[in-house]
Symmetry: C2
Subunit: 466 residues, 2 copies
């Protein structure tokens, strides 16, 4: 287990201060902003930077954080929880970031095999007097935000109507029914999000909150009765600014939010065709704004709104998780423009977070990912054609492939090859370590390799939680 | 261009000291040990650690260096040297590490398009009085070691006999003839290595040094006449310990050194077969010592030998490059055991380097890679089979695939899919940023993203070269 080598002056006075840290002679609230790029491994970052900033110079906002390390992602087997497997999903990986404990694929802050609830950092922060928030481009009930608040055997238990629906590919130990309120459980993820009274919830997933609970009440009404102001858009001066309601629930789409970018002509990666024994590559394309994203708040706007809310009371600190969810979802669908646009959107939100941290000493900013994704930067078609000529046999990438024309007019080839054409349902996660970028850890020596549990400990220590 | 934020006390006295730095009141020689894992991106490191140390804990030696960053790899186009492409080869990438300047694929420390010689750090160090060394598991004439000393239009110009041989896939501007001694050039890479009087050269490639130069003399004899002691093995107390010759040339194999590990039953990754519309996956295998490596020195032994030689004169510092070359070469061949064994061998050499650095303050240790490689950690067969069932269509990885049984008895699947079966000649490099691990840079703030030119500058600054 990793030990942080640090003389943590703030720890010595943790009895005195629940939500503050000493800076010079003044007490400032301690804050944590955790950004999670879903599926955002090193390859996805390189690809987005190449597209956005070109090959020569320039850094993403996340790359301007002063410290980088790398993170080991760990996953237990549901049927043998003493053993590991090397590919995570967002549920078990976010659960580890949220709880500091390992679990198995599909689980939301519950233990592999034994289904015990694993307490989360957001819950501990709330109990210690911190404000809390979750912001995502996915449904708020999706695995990553869910893992910071809810405890279910499976990520699919999103709304009350999901609780008695069988999940064909999950084992008996991970069916939703055991968590249903009828059976004395904590209920669906949507219900748990509201019951937990998270101060700010911004994202998609309205359809889950429109469902009715076991007493027949719509969750949206239940939310209102628990002090939530409901919003469905974010403006310069919107209703939420004047609200006296203590809590904010913003639902901006029935499900996941539409993504910011699409490929020109809606193009994605395609399987390379062979014609008379020679590979034929599709023409390059570039990325465009997605018209379906019009009127939807950006992740940066949601982050700014959440930070404004969470910092209204200058005496209290907060814990905020912000997820760029569709980097992963678009990579699964072999949509390079979708994933680059979403990584760019997350990066803009990181810039907002850094700006806030500059004004608010005592803010720990962390940017990391939950697991690797399939896409890789590959050689261009002319390279494959030259090899085809010289070896006199077709040389081409075996999966799905796209050539993007970047903002700087460079050509960049992107390949996806974890599931075979023509019927490969979707791309797979990979088992690579993921990056982490850190700011606000002055004096802390960060090792070259951390685990997700270390990130949990770092956040807990920063907030001086028990 | 990145500026290192550092008050570099040693720079102020650089007029006084050519090869030393001030530590407290005493002058110690400044040393650089640069380890290059060829093709060793984040994925290859995760994979090797999973196999060697298991999923739970434990760090590779390189991961115990105190600072990590990430490195942008940059490649120019030969026919448009003002433009970039996103996939490097070892030649242009090592050239940038060695010279601080960018170039195009295939070039050895010469400029893209214009073929100007680009001075290398090893040459500058030698001119400033430092000792110099190159150690590799490849032929010493291979691209990575070559780029630190030689200047040729193409990496294939390895021995005198290569100089008039046409390279079919290289443009006219990159044929070897222009560098031949007959045409007034500096000659082949092997000739340039000897002419440069590098103090220690250890690796493979004896067949290139057995060739004759344009005056009919064998290069091996030429080497002897230039003060090289020749060795063909390394022992506890071998001939080189007593030698009074100033220079050491160890050639331990005709070409690249045999690799340390092979797959049990000589197995590699294979294309997944479809039988009656269902994928059939080959059984897992583990890795064994390669009997062909018997009697061949390990990279750690070569590194120890080189360090002993280069530190004989306590008043002089040195520059040493150590390459784990076959991580890349084995990944090209879809041989996961080969590449993991070679990464492990490099890691053992890094441990030797760190040990030396601990005893010799003033030693900068850098571990990095030159470009990404194809292999990825993928889901296991049971995951693909479950998807095949649920989607009722075959779901399987489209390239080459292997399941390894690790030292801790975990199963790890490795996929290669940058060139399609059944005739995909070899796997391709990828364009991902690569890791860098650093030790001996006290007081230096390292940004979260560097370039290969920054690494050159860091080394040059450490040695206070003009």
């Amino acid at each position: 287990m990793l030990k942080f080598r640090r003389i943590l002056a703030t720890l010595l006075i943790s009895g005195l201060l629940a939500t503050g840290a000493v800076f010079g002679d003044t007490v400032k609230p301690a804050n944590v902003i955790l950004f999670i790029g879903d599926g955002m491994d090193e390859h996805q970052i390189t690809m987005a930077r190449n597209y956005l900033l070109g090959p020569e110079e320039g850094l993403l906002a996340m790359e301007q954080l002063p410290v980088r390390s790398s993170v080991r992602v760990q996953t237990l087997l549901e049927n043998r929880p003493d053993r590991f497997t090397f590919i995570a999903d967002s549920a078990n990986s976010a659960s580890t970031l949220a709880t500091g404990q390992l679990t198995s694929i599909g689980r939301i802050a519950t233990s592999a095999g034994t289904d015990f609830d694993q307490p989360t950092i957001l819950q501990a922060a709330r109990e210690s007097g911190f404000l809390t928030g979750l912001v995502t481009t996915a449904s708020l009930t999706d695995a990553t935000p869910a893992a910071f608040v809810a405890h279910t055997a499976h990520r699919n238990c999103q709304g009350p109507e999901d609780m008695n629906r069988a999940i064909s590919y999950a084992p008996p130990s991970q069916q939703c029914a055991i968590d249903s309120k009828q059976q004395g459980g904590p209920g669906s993820i949507a219900e748990q999000l509201i019951d937990a009274r998270v101060d700010v919830l911004l994202g998609g997933g309205k359809k889950y909150f429109a469902q009715k609970n076991h007493s027949g009440a719509q969750l949206l009404d239940q939310a209102r009765s628990q002090g939530y102001q409901l919003i469905d858009h974010i403006g310069q001066h919107d209703a939420s600014d004047q609200s006296t309601e203590p809590r904010l629930l913003g639902l901006f789409s029935p499900g996941h939010l539409p993504v910011e970018w699409i490929g020109s002509g809606n193009r994605k990666a395609e399987a390379v065709e062979l014609v008379s024994g020679k590979p034929v590559f599709a023409a390059p394309f570039d990325c465009l704004k997605n018209p379906r994203h019009n009127g939807i708040p950006t992740l940066a706007q949601m982050t700014r709104k959440a930070l404004a809310r969470l910092s209204r009371d200058p005496s209290r600190g907060f814990f905020l998780m912000v997820e760029g969810a569709s980097i992963d979802k678009q990579a699964h669908r072999r949509n390079p423009c979708g994933q680059i646009g979403e990584l760019s959107a997350l990066d803009s939100a990181v810039a907002v977070g850094r700006e806030f941290a500059k004004q608010h000493p005592g803010t720990l900013v962390i940017v990391t990912a939950d697991h690797g994704q399939a896409s890789q930067i590959l050689p261009l078609p002319d390279n494959y054609m030259a090899l085809t000529e010289s070896l006199q046999s077709p040389q081409y990438p075996p999966g799905y492939y796209a050539v993007l024309k970047t903002r700087h007019d460079d050509l960049m080839a992107v390949g996806y090859a974890t599931n075979a054409p023509p019927q490969g349902g979707w791309e797979q996660h990979t088992g690579v370590d993921v990056p982490v970028f850190l700011e606000g850890i002055d004096g802390l020596e960060v090792p070259a390799l951390m685990s997700q549990r270390d990130i949990f400990r770092l956040m807990r220590e920063h907030l001086q939680l028990p």
